[in-house]
Every structure is written in structure tokens, then in C-alpha cells.
């Protein structure tokens, strides 16, 4: 087994999950409901890039920028026309509404673009060879974007006034209002950044793989797992969560468990005990079960009032 390749694969998986999870974690902590439409926004963003880049023939980078901004605005509209009215209805009502919205977006996309996958106007090449492992340019971009996002979010939340206001709003909305923080503005900003960032994540995943209407549907549960493993509302939690899931999925399959099962030489039950690939999705779920049983509020324990 090429361990460097497994390592690289792990990092890419983590970065792809993390890109969307960071936005979801932040919006989750402020909006306080599980937004199932978050990941569908990612897919919509990815399709918009297809529209601009392939159908209309725009420059790729420009397409990404415009699409991300449009989706950020879509986020504002979603809040204004749909989710704002759930401010006092607890967390379950908006969750089911977002489920309805997700169904609508997903199938709206299929009605427009069909079920077949689409790809961007981009030449796929064999990856760059680094220490015996292959990594492609889009993957490098994904890693760069994920790391920049991590640093960017950190700086936003820690060193800017509006970022601190976001953390304050996440911690205690009533008190934030008592501080004359315009929490409505904060929430709008969170929708804008969160949805725009989801779109960016979706676009990059689409760039690295392909775009189809079920891109989000197949990602939504793993991403919720990542967010909750890490701890809702913590950007660092989302990063740690995605690293855990990414590494567990790749190393979980690569590892030969024979030494463990033979109790390191005490038994001789065979020399290969691999985890069947069919159980790859189970790795994420096992991680959720184990981690939440040990730490019921995720790895980064947030002190929320």
C-alpha cells in the first residue's frame, strides 16, 4: 500500500468535507436548526458555474466568483422569504421546512439539467507526482481553499468586531440584542457567508469530481456527521471532524488488521483482515457513535448558555 497516496487521499477527503462543513457548522450555531438545504445550495452553486463556464463560455475563475456571490445572495433571500418567520418556532419546524426546500432544489436542478452528470470546461490530467503519490491541480486548489477558509474564518471570528458579534449571537441571542448588536444583520451576514461558502465548496468538489443533481444528497449525512463530531458552532470542530472522517475512511480501508486480530502474534488466524470496502460508509457512522458516546457535545466542547 502506498501510504503517501493514502495520506494525500485522506487530506483531500477531509478538505472536501471540511469546506462545506465549516459553513454549516457556523450557520448551525446561529440559526439553531439543522439546515438540510445547506448542501443543496452547494450543488446549486456548482451548477451555476456550469451554466456560466460551459453554457455561456465565461472564464472559469469569474464563473466561480459570480456563482459564489449569487448563492450568498440566495442565502439572504432564503432568510428573508422563508426562514425568518421561524424565529420563534423552535428548531424542528425550520428543519422540516429546509427538508422541503432541499427536495425542491435537488429536483428543480434535475428538471433543468437532467439526471446525467456535467463537467466543467477543464482538461483533466494525471496528478502531479509528489513522494510517490498523485495529486491534481484542482485537489491542490481544494487544499489551499480549505486552509485559507480555516484561517479566514479564524481571523473573522477572533479578530473582527463583526466576527465577535457572530460568536456573541451564537452564544446568546437575547443578550446580543441587549448589547445593541443588530442580530438581524448578523444573521443575514451568516446566511450570506454560509451559503456562499457552501457554494464554493460544492463548486470545488464538482471541479474535482463532477456535478450531478444528487451530489448534495449523497454528501448531506456525512457532512452533518462531521459537524456534530466536531461540535456545532465550532469552526475548529468542523476541521477536526473532517480530518477524523477523512483519515478514518482512507486509512480504515487501507489498514490490514491481521496483527490486531492475531493479538500481535499470539494467535494465527490468517494474515489478512481488511475492512471490506462495502463498510466504508460505516466508518463515518462508527466515528460518530464512538466520539459522541465519549463526548456528547462533540470534540470541541462549546460553552453555550
Amino acid at each position: 500500500m502506498n501510504i503517501v497516496q493514502v495520506l494525500v487521499n485522506s487530506l483531500i477527503t477531509s478538505a472536501e468535507l471540511g469546506l462545506i462543513a465549516i459553513g454549516l457548522s457556523m450557520t448551525f450555531s446561529i440559526l439553531r436548526f439543522a439546515n438540510f438545504a445547506h448542501v443543496e445550495s452547494a450543488v446549486l452553486g456548482a451548477y451555476l458555474v456550469y451554466l456560466f463556464n460551459v453554457t455561456l463560455g465565461w472564464n472559469f475563475a469569474l464563473s466561480i466568483l459570480v456563482s459564489t456571490l449569487i448563492l450568498g445572495t440566495v442565502g439572504l433571500a432564503l432568510h428573508r422569504f422563508i426562514f425568518r418567520r421561524f424565529a420563534n418556532s423552535g428548531d424542528i419546524t425550520p428543519m422540516i421546512a429546509s427538508l422541503g426546500l432541499a427536495i425542491t432544489i435537488r429536483h428543480g436542478i434535475q428538471a433543468i439539467w437532467g439526471p446525467q452528470h456535467v463537467v466543467y470546461d477543464y482538461e483533466v490530467l494525471p496528478g502531479n507526482k509528489i513522494f510517490g503519490a498523485f495529486i491534481t491541480d484542482p485537489q491542490i486548489w481544494i487544499l489551499i481553499t480549505a486552509v485559507s477558509a480555516m484561517v479566514g474564518f479564524h481571523c473573522l471570528l477572533q479578530y473582527t468586531r463583526i466576527g465577535t458579534a457572530m460568536r456573541a449571537t451564537a452564544a446568546n441571542v437575547d443578550l446580543a440584542q441587549a448589547c445593541s448588536i443588530d442580530t438581524q444583520k448578523v444573521i443575514l451576514l451568516v446566511w450570506f457567508i454560509g451559503t456562499g461558502f457552501a457554494a464554493l465548496g460544492g463548486i470545488l468538489i464538482g471541479w474535482d469530481t463532477q456535478v450531478d443533481p444528487y451530489l448534495g444528497f449523497n454528501l448531506v449525512i456525512p457532512i452533518f456527521c462531521v459537524v456534530l463530531i466536531g461540535g456545532v458552532g465550532s469552526v475548529y470542530g468542523a476541521i477536526i471532524g473532517s480530518l477524523i472522517v477523512g483519515f478514518a475512511q482512507n486509512f480504515g480501508l487501507a489498514f490490514n488488521y491481521a496483527p490486531l486480530i492475531n493479538l500481535f502474534g499470539l494467535l494465527d488466524l490468517g494474515d489478512r483482515f481488511d475492512l471490506p470496502a462495502a463498510y466504508k460508509p460505516a466508518i463515518t457512522y462508527m466515528a460518530v457513535v464512538l466520539i459522541l458516546l465519549i463526548r456528547p457535545t462533540g470534540i470541541i466542547r462549546k460553552e453555550v448558555s
Partner: protein, 289 residues
């Protein structure tokens, strides 16, 4: 005409089965605040228990009882993971447990023929009638539970552990009992599901089914049995009724199919926007302690 009645009977039967699953979820969510995102696992395990037992030649009625027992036991096991976990955290944990169980059924061909699933070649006489009567019985039982002291305590737990703990209630025990009852009802629904379709496969236990059951509960009205039944009927009508679009709208079936879901999604969202507490909301009562 006879066939239309047959379709009506089928719809009533399948709606009753899902009403049971929805009421079981409502007992956990609407009453006890347990955000079970893995509800479908009760149905799947119940259906598989019936299928496996039936293939072993066990009496159909005994199969139903076995299904209820197995699902109730699963409910107990799941409740042991709740502890003081927050709503969505346990939601994802329960979803993970449900998916792990489904993956075992999917991947272990020796257990239940893997992805191909199991046929259930037994029937019980007056099946649809049995399902309807069982549903009414479940409604009655849940109504009694709701009004009982037990029901009052679990509704108190829904609002947070603090008050019931302060009153000296063993919160975990109550959650365990709730999950066991919810599991048994879900297992009953699952057993009927297997008998209705004569078949069960891992695809019947996909997470999407859980979310549809959730929509039934929330659209109908959490914490109100009548509301939950109404929600089940509503969602069922959405999914089955929208099939008749084919007869009204003359566009390509490949485009109509996703548009049908656009409509379903919009209607679910619309009900939530304009009736956030559901079609028939819970009547809040004030209790003096």
C-alpha cells in the same frame, strides 16, 4: 370498481402502517423530545425479524410479536446512548446507529441475502382489517399513555431534564421506556410492512424514509395524535396523489418526475411556513405540580 376499492384498501393499509411509524416517532419527539433520526430502523428491523422468522416456519402472529420484541429491545439499546446528549447530537447518533444496522443487512449475504433482501411468503387472514384495528389500538394506547402520569413526566422531559430531575424522576429510565414503547410500535409497523409487500430489503431502510416519517409528524402536528395521523395522510396523499399529475399534465415523464418532487417539496415547505405548529397542533395544557 372492485379494483378501485382494492387500491383504496391498499392505501388505507399502507397509510395505517406509516401512521404507526409516525406515532411511534411522535411519542419520542413530540412527547419526550428525543430527536430520533433513525426511526426507520425500527421498521426495517421489525420487517426483517418477521421475514427471518417466517422463513424459519414460525406462525405469522408469533412473527409479529417477535418483531415488536426485537424492535423494542433495539429501542432500549438506542436509549442507552442518550444520556444527556443534546437533541441534534443524539439525532445524528441515532441515524448512525440505524445506518450501521442497515449496512449489516446490506452487506451480510448470509444473514438476510444482502442487497437482494428477503421475500416474506406468509399471509394472515383479514390482513388490512388487522392493520386498521391495530392502528386504532395503537392510537388508544398512546392516548392512554399521553394522559397518564407517565405521559406527563415525559412531556416534562421534552422541555429539558432539569425540572423532572428536580422532582426526583429517573429521566433515563423514562427515556428508556419511551424508546422501548416507540420501538415496539415501530416494529409492529415494520412487521405489517413486510407482510404488505411480501418483501423487505435494505433499500426499505434508507435514511430518506426516516425524513419522510419526520415530515409526517411535523407537518401534521407534533404532540397531537390526530395531527400525526392527519400528517401521515397528507404526506401519503402528496406522494400518491401527485402520481395523477401524469394524467393532467402532458409533458415528458422524465421532466415531470422531478417536477413532481419540486411540488412535494414546496408543499411541505409551505405548510411549515404558514402552519408552523402543523396542520392540527398540540393543545397545550397547564399542569399544576
Amino acid at each position: 370498481m372492485e379494483q378501485l376499492i382494492g387500491f383504496g384498501i391498499y392505501l388505507v393499509t399502507v397509510t395505517c402502517i406509516f401512521a404507526m411509524l409516525a406515532m411511534s416517532l411522535d411519542l419520542q419527539v413530540g412527547a419526550c423530545g428525543l430527536m430520533n433520526f433513525g426511526q426507520v430502523v425500527f421498521m426495517m428491523v421489525g420487517a426483517y425479524a418477521t421475514a427471518i422468522a417466517a422463513n424459519a416456519g414460525i406462525n405469522p402472529y408469533a412473527c409479529i410479536v417477535i418483531s415488536m420484541a426485537v424492535a423494542a429491545l433495539l429501542g432500549v439499546v438506542m436509549s442507552l446512548t442518550v444520556k444527556n446528549m443534546g437533541g441534534t447530537y443524539w439525532g445524528i447518533l441515532s441515524l448512525s446507529m440505524a445506518e450501521l444496522i442497515r449496512l449489516v443487512f446490506l452487506n451480510e449475504r448470509w444473514l438476510a441475502d444482502g442487497a437482494n433482501g428477503l421475500s416474506v411468503l406468509i399471509t394472515i387472514p383479514y390482513f388490512s382489517l388487522t392493520v386498521v384495528v391495530s392502528t386504532l389500538f395503537v392510537i388508544l394506547i398512546l392516548r392512554v399513555i399521553w394522559l397518564s402520569p407517565f405521559g406527563r413526566v415525559i412531556r416534562m422531559i421534552r422541555e429539558g431534564d432539569r425540572l423532572p430531575l428536580a422532582l426526583g424522576k429517573n429521566v433515563l429510565l423514562f427515556k428508556l421506556e419511551t424508546m422501548a414503547i416507540g420501538g415496539a410500535i415501530g416494529g409492529l409497523g415494520g412487521s405489517f410492512y413486510a407482510l404488505l409487500n411480501s418483501y423487505i430489503s435494505p433499500d426499505d431502510g434508507l435514511p430518506i424514509e426516516t425524513f419522510i416519517i419526520w415530515a409526517m409528524v411535523v407537518v401534521g402536528g407534533r404532540g397531537n395524535l390526530l395531527g400525526v395521523v392527519a400528517g401521515t395522510v397528507f404526506i401519503q396523499i402528496l406522494f400518491v396523489g401527485s402520481r395523477f399529475l401524469t394524467h393532467i399534465v402532458d409533458i415528458d415523464a422524465g421532466v415531470l418526475a422531478p417536477l413532481r418532487f419540486v411540488l412535494i417539496g414546496l408543499l411541505i415547505m409551505g405548510v411549515m411556513m404558514f402552519r408552523p405548529q402543523g396542520l392540527i397542533p398540540e393543545r397545550k395544557r397547564v399542569y399544576r405540580i
